[in-house]
Amino acid sequence: MSNPLSDLLRSYLAVGLFASLGFILVGLLLFLSWLVRPSRPQAQKYISYESGVDPVGDMWSQSQVRYYIFALLFVMFDVEAVFIFPWATRVELYGVFGLVEMLVFIGILLLGLVYAWRKGVLRWA
């Protein structure tokens, strides 16, 4: 190759520099703070905060299953969006056939949402 710069660097040289500046900033702030901040250890300071009284029970509380449902629904719509992007950028190429294709695709996925909705799992009671 005549040009010594690779495609990767062409696209991401600036991003890489910007990212390293970000890391430098964060590191610098943490370092400065580490230099100047006091440290006076006291056993009470390291207890989990529970409005000032002794913490009760274990730290974790089992979260509810509905969070899982929402996360799964999100996976569904995220994948949907990912399939939509390539189509949306080149709609003119696929014409009516592509439109019907996408209608069917979104229609099937909407069925999933409607099902969850009908079953009442979208209701946060």
Partner: protein
Amino acid sequence: MDPLLSGNVDLMTVVVVLLKVLVAFAGLLVAVMGMVWFERKALADMENRFGPNRAGPFGILQTLADGMKLSFKEDLLPEKADRFVFRLAPLLAVIPAFLTFAIVPLAGNFSNGNDGVVEILGHKTFMQVADPQMGILWMLAMSSIAVYGIVLAGWSSGSKYPLLGSVRASAQMVSYEAALGLSIATVLLIGGMLSTNQIVAGQYGLRWNLWMTGIVPFFIFIIAGTAELNRPPFDLVEAEQELVGGFHTEYSSMRFAMFFLAEFMNAVTMSAIIVTLFLGGPSGPTFGITGWISDYVLPFIYFFLKVLLFLYMFAFFRGTLPRFRYDQLMDLGWKFLIPLALGWFLLLATVRVAADQGWNLPLTVVVCLAVLAAGAGLLRAAIRNSEHAEAMAAGSVAKDASEVDV
């Protein structure tokens, strides 16, 4: 791709890249500090008080003072915390917030269909840190990483309130990220380009996506974006009355400042992204002026004013709107925004295809709107009826149960 790096690359090119990176970096930091001050001043104004007015003229150095104060505080690591993840979480919150800014076009002449190319030290380039091929998807990728900052902060604290806050937050953020993605899809439908530079270039001469996409995606994006930022009225993550401080309850000193920084950096970046996607970024009338004024000064002023509008909007939301209940939040996301975003996307897609095929446009729009309205009605009816039918077995039980509960 940035013309700076597409040709032959020499040392000067790298210098130009460094220059751009440094300017954007400094600009972002100043903007974040300004945003904190601006929001506090705006809030104070709305609440008929002074706000910060001691540090520097008009209290403008207040953020700096706050940051310095925080750095002098003791850094506590709770005994039950997961040491590694506890230290990692603030980084995961700040770095994505920071990196999203890399794709925002800050200036450049976009008038009359120009592509925003400016010349620095004899090199043609875009006035944005980078224009990667994945374009606007970069922002989505970063915001999906940012979720980890909050989830892990809450989990690693080894404490109840942070955990609750973070589980809530992550469910909220993923719920609205779907709507966010779908409203971005409508912008792609209009412009057909992922690159932020080309998205802005496609909106020259007031052909803003704001009305090219029919306003609805813009509002969806604003609502979903506000929820994504966990800002009021969607700040259930740190609902002080219920969760002490939310996911960062156990954090102190500079690590706490990191979350603070990330929140405001996200607000600035999100405003900039909204401006880029829907309001034509730095484009605007140049009044026939050419040269550096139309390349840098005017576009940057346009960009700054547009961003300021949204920063004020965020402050306004905070000053005026009460916090959502969690069930309202989820209802808004799943039962309103996502179906609406999908419906609107299909409408725009159909209109687009209709225009390509030479169908009767007004007729198509009317038919589409009718179909959408019918669909929405059917949806509502199906859900009501099914709820009734499903309730056949359990309905009376539910009534009994609810009476018992009360």
